[in-house]
């Protein structure tokens, strides 16, 4: 057993012990040790069963929750789209959550367990889910998808190997966010942490295995309920961060009093991790002595650099650092006006994190950074004040999970003024999660391809953030980029093949991996009262499924979706004659077409009741009906509404 996992046996939680027993990498990051937390909220039975109802989230006056009367299916879907890549939750589960109180529902919806069967059921898996043995970690998942028992075709498995091709980390990370049976909320948050807030970059000599171990360290820290300060400390002592900033080479000569190294992470530990710039508090901003720069610069940053010493890689690009004492600043260090003591950098980082988390700038900036990064591009002053009050009110033991839960059911989250433009990753994850109907489909990795959509087409390379440690492309940036729009739009035409396939005919890989596979939307699409599928009901359901709520599905959207679903043709072609003389395929519908009795209005009425025969015994007709769903989805995915989430 590794040194890191020896630490794991002290952990109180069975989940972690299980992970260590399996020899997975989740015990890394040098954190180990006792958890100060209260667990992840517990949706996850150890054997894969769904655990009983966890304790509802306490009400908060600092961050007021929305009224129970307003809590409905749209609110639930809104949370799932924002925080869980849409999730794979069933319609029945969503309705169940909508019928509960927000405080009771949210603790089921959002938790940090590696598996959340309510949020992401392992649909289509019979017997024991093989993903359970992976611990849900990136390292474990990569080993599974690249290994001998992988469900993928042999030619594809190697692409998931973290030590093999460059894409192993990217593929595994994306697949983790879109595989039924895991926890898309957990991976959504971990992706943000490792690509935005606490970003590392595989383009700058941080290895894929180091990043995976780093990701898994945070995963484990969240899963066992560590305080956020402790999670940040564990991130700070990871090999990936050490390599990213180069402080794994830093040393301190205790005899001569000489520090050797750079101060990059000494500053970013405070600025990026905790939001402390040292500029607003007089005691930080004032020089210690005349002619010097500020206390923050001369004392806090410089002493933090001395703290970050003798934390070396035992071998080149090792996934865990070794914390020594000989080349470490052995005496306590004054940082943030506190004496930080400890035998090693690891000990001192754990102590420093507990001071930093209570710093006034951290308490002001960190909650804003989290919400701005995950959920809201339009935070107003009143929103920010509430977030800060809640965060500050958590005192020393700040729980990221409780904070996100409270925010997700808050009035401000559900306020229509909230806007979050989706990044290419978020947009594609929602699409893939809502389009793949079960585990088998989600593992058709060259077809429902995360890397194909996100990286190759959208140019968004996970774990290679465009702004290096300052984070990946934001949703705001994405919304401003015409090229991103062009990619999305053109995919609706040029990339239709990806969605429109309804069987494995003529494709050797699908035939080998999923013999007899046929896309069957009838398993989940809602029926009319007479048991049939008809355009209007199916279209509204698709809108909710892919866009998130009921709002915004107006006459224009309905007309084009109805035409695609009901006829497989475009509204211009169908409504103006459907091929008969005078048909005008290029007809552009405007408001005048939707007045009573006008062309658009009449056609909408006609199309609304068209059958969509998803279970027709005639194979050709059935496949055609299922293909038409793909056309509708391709259309929806190219709309502005699919590129943003907002309060309802």
């Amino acid at each position: 057993m590794s040194e890191a996992c020896k630490g794991g046996v002290r952990v109180r939680f069975a989940l972690v012990a299980l992970t260590c027993a399996l020899g997975l990498a989740a015990c890394g990051g040098g954190g180990g040790g006792d958890s100060g937390g209260n667990g992840n909220g517990g949706n996850n039975g150890g054997d894969g069963a769904v655990a009983p109802q966890p304790t509802p989230l306490p009400a908060s006056s600092a961050l007021p929750a929305m009224a129970t009367a307003q809590w409905n299916e749209t609110a639930v879907r809104n949370i799932l789209h924002t925080f869980a890549y849409g999730s794979q939750a069933s319609d029945a589960q969503i309705q169940t959550w909508a019928s509960m109180s927000p405080q009771a529902a949210i603790v089921q919806m959002l938790d940090f367990a590696p598996f959340n069967p309510r949020l992401s059921p392992a649909t289509g898996v019979s017997g024991i889910d093989p993903l359970r043995a992976t611990g849900g970690t990136l390292t474990g998942l990569a080993r599974y998808w690249s290994g001998a028992s992988s469900p993928l075709v042999p030619a594809t498995r190697g692409a998931f190997d973290l030590t093999g091709t460059w894409s192993g980390l990217t593929r595994t990370g994306l697949q983790a966010g879109m595989t039924p049976g895991l926890n898309p909320f957990l991976h959504r948050v971990l992706f943000w942490e490792t690509n935005y807030h606490l970003a590392v970059n595989q383009e700058v000599d941080v290895s894929a295995a180091q990043i995976a171990a780093y990701y898994d360290t945070l995963l484990q820290s969240f899963a066992v309920g560590d305080s956020y300060s402790r999670s940040l400390a564990r991130a700070a002592m990871s090999a990936a961060i050490g390599r990213q900033y180069g402080h794994f080479r830093n040393t301190y000569d205790n005899a001569r009093g000489v520090f050797r190294g750079n101060e990059d992470f000494a500053r970013e530990f405070h600025q990026l991790f905790f939001g402390i710039l040292g500029t607003t508090q007089p005691e930080d901003a004032t020089p210690r002595a005349a002619g010097e720069d500020s206390y923050h610069e001369v004392v806090t940053v410089k002493n933090t650099a001395r703290l970050l010493t003798d934390m070396s890689e035992p071998s080149d690009h090792a996934t865990e650092l070794v914390f020594g004492t000989a080349l470490h600043h052995q005496a306590p260090l004054e940082i943030l006006h506190a004496q930080i003591a400890g035998a090693t950098a690891r000990d001192k980082l754990l102590a420093l994190a507990e001071v930093a988390i209570r710093h006034p700038e951290s308490e002001a900036n960190l909650p804003v950074k989290i919400v701005a990064g995950l959920a809201n591009d339009r935070l107003g002053a009143a929103d920010i004040a509430e977030l800060r009050a809640y965060w500050r009110g958590m005192g020393q033991h700040k729980s990221l999970l409780d904070f996100l839960r409270a925010y997700a059911i808050s009035r401000q989250f559900h306020d229509p003024a909230r806007v979050k433009y989706l990044t290419p990753l978020e947009r594609n994850m929602v699409l893939l999660n809502r389009f793949a109907l079960d585990r088998r489909e989600s593992e058709l990795v060259n077809w429902y391809s995360g890397i194909g959509l996100v990286t190759w087409e959208d140019g968004f390379n996970p774990f290679s953030p465009t702004h290096n440690v300052f984070g990946h492309t934001t949703g705001e940036e994405t919304s401003l980029a015409a090229d991103q729009f062009r990619t999305v739009y053109n995919r609706g035409v040029d990339g239709l093949w990806r969605l429109a396939r309804v069987d494995g005919e003529g494709n050797a890989e699908i035939t080998a991996q999923a013999p007899g596979w046929e896309k069957r939307w009838d398993s989940i699409a809602p029926r009319d009262a007479d048991g049939s599928w008809r355009t209007q009901r199916v279209a509204e359901w698709l809108w909710r499924r892919f866009i998130g709520g009921n709002a915004g599905f107006g006459i224009y959207e309905r007309l084009y979706v109805y035409a695609l679903l009901g006829t497989g043709r475009d509204a211009g072609y169908y409504c103006t004659g459907n091929g008969a003389a005078g048909t005008d395929p290029d007809h552009v519908f405007t408001d005048a077409d939707f007045t009573p009795g006008a062309l658009g209005t009449r056609c909408l009425d006609t199309l609304a009741t068209q059958p969509v025969d998803l279970a027709n015994p005639d194979v050709a007709l059935r496949k055609d009906a299922n293909r038409r769903i793909a056309y509708a989805v391709a259309f929806l995915a190219a709309l502005p509404q699919a590129q943003v989430v907002r309060g309802e």
């Binding site: 610069e297 090229d483 053109n490 035409v493 091929g579």
Partner: protein, 484 residues
């Protein structure tokens, strides 16, 4: 037939192609009809002192500024430990740098320039490079905040505060159809203009061109005589559905969606003119009417390092957007190059970056031959980053965050030379203090960006673009003389 078309046809016919030496190097394919400012953001905090170090003499006195500077910067200069003495510094300077003279004179400027930056040296010697020293934006030494301050051109901006960018404000002041052309992956905050009262900054005056050779929206066409199956093929159906939807649906009432939907309108409006002027593809063989010059195309070839490829793509965009004169009215353009946060092994990292920007056969040098005389007079580059670095190198061969830095302004309309003291005497006593001492900011960014705005507008921009009231300005610096 104009000269460009004649040359192109000649080349296609194989006439001049057989004798490449006869092809004029500057055939003026690109015409810049109005004053155009290119803002280049170097993310990470570029160490311009590495580009322009103090000259050092063979007999340099031990207590001189230059000697102390080179001693403090020996490791970030990549000088081996056993060469860290006067001879070693002198040798390094002479092998890696050229001493500059003040433009148009034989008078030593007291600074050197990295040899690898051949194009920049040519521009300097021609008197087209102004180096404005001791410029300061944010003082937090925080990347995000400092870049935000530079983008907004406002030293009073608080972290995460949403304000319009100074590029957006500049095109607003220009009025008419003027746009900020964002040649980057995504428009920087620099490009955003003022929103309506009480509203956030807007992208209404931004034109986003991340790849000037791939602007077309997917379309499908058919002939009336085509069989029905062809007319209702799924890709035809989707192409018509999307095109008609975006054409008919009015998003004006919903600014959140309108921002996205507006891309469709802009791309579709551009497509005809762009296709006529540039054609499709990068080369004549792939359908280009105006091929991307070979030297530019090489910058973003697959074999180039990634950062260089991204930069090379922006040079192509710059070439093309200037060539789209009359179709795209973008007198303010935005480019970026990251990777300047040189905490470790600075010498190898920063010099590669500088070469991408300023070497012969790279960066701007590949664009310049395509500009005619009028265009060169109408184009100015302003190059800056988050902040400068500390005076002394760290123990990892790099430099850590500082505050003050230089800003480079390049163009034929620029009065070249040094603005501000490149090596203030106060620094002499600070090199060895080990207290994170840095370049003191003496000139606020508002004065530099204000001068740029004045030039673009052709007169005093007052406070419409940046607020220069009460700003910092180094004694003796006259930025009203920055342009000829």
């Amino acid at each position: 037939m104009n000269r460009r078309d004649f040359l192109k046809l000649s080349l296609l016919a194989g006439g001049l192609a057989a004798f490449p030496g006869l092809i004029p190097s500057a055939f003026g394919a690109v015409a810049v009809a109005r004053r155009t400012l290119v803002s280049v953001t170097l993310g990470g905090g570029p160490d311009f002192r590495h580009l322009f170090p103090p000259t050092i003499a063979a007999n340099e006195p031990a207590d001189s500024y230059a000697m102390r500077w080179w001693t403090a910067r020996a490791s970030s200069q990549g000088i081996a430990a056993d060469q860290r003495n006067r001879d070693g510094y002198y040798q390094r300077f002479n092998s890696a740098y050229q001493a500059l003279t003040l433009p148009g004179t034989a008078q030593p400027a007291g600074i050197g320039m990295l040899n690898r930056c051949g194009w920049l040296k040519e521009q300097w010697d021609a008197g087209h490079v102004a180096v404005i020293h001791n410029v300061v934006g944010a003082t937090s030494r925080d990347h995000s905040h400092s870049l935000q301050v530079m983008d907004q051109g406002d030293r009073t901006s608080a972290p995460m505060e949403r304000k319009p960018g100074w590029g957006g404000r500049l095109v607003t002041a220009l009025g008419g159809n003027a746009r900020v052309g964002a040649l980057t992956r995504a428009p920087r905050p620099f490009c955003l203009g003022p929103g309506a009262a009480g509203h956030l900054p807007t992208a209404d005056r931004v034109i986003s061109i991340a790849n000037s050779r791939a602007l077309a929206l997917a379309e499908r066409s058919f002939l009336p005589t085509d069989p029905t199956w062809k007319k209702v093929a799924s890709d035809q159906v989707l192409a018509r559905s999307l095109k008609a939807y975006y054409a008919g649906r009015d998003f004006a009432a919903d600014p959140v969606l309108a921002r996205i939907a507006n891309h469709e309108k802009v791309l579709r409006a551009l497509s005809g003119g762009v296709k006529a002027r540039l054609g499709s593809g990068d080369t004549a063989a792939t359908g280009a009417v105006l091929p991307v010059p070979d030297a530019i195309r090489a910058l973003y070839a697959a074999s180039a390092p990634y950062n260089s490829r991204y930069w090379g793509g922006q040079i192509r965009n710059l070439h093309d957007v200037l060539a789209l004169n009359g179709i795209v009215d973008a007198p303010v353009l935005s480019m970026e190059y990251g990777g300047w946060d040189t905490h470790k092994q600075q010498q190898s990292g920063i010099e590669g970056n500088l070469e991408d920007l300023f070497a012969k056969g790279r960066g701007f040098d590949t664009l310049w031959p395509n500009l005619d005389a009028t265009s060169r007079r109408n184009l100015v580059l302003v190059i800056y980053g988050d902040f400068g670095r500390q005076l002394a190198s760290n123990g990892d061969g790099g430099t850590d965050h500082g505050r003050g830095n230089a800003v480079l302004v390049i163009g034929e309309d620029v009065r070249g030379g040094l603005y501000g003291d490149p090596f203030p005497a106060r620094e002499t006593a600070l090199f060895a203090r080990n207290l994170n001492d840095d370049i003191q900011g003496l000139t606020g960014i508002e004065h530099v960006f204000g001068a740029m705005a004045d030039w673009v507008l052709g007169g005093d921009s007052g406070t419409t673009v940046v607020n220069r009231g009460g700003g910092l300005l180094e004694s003796g610096v006259a930025l009203d003389r920055l342009f000829v």
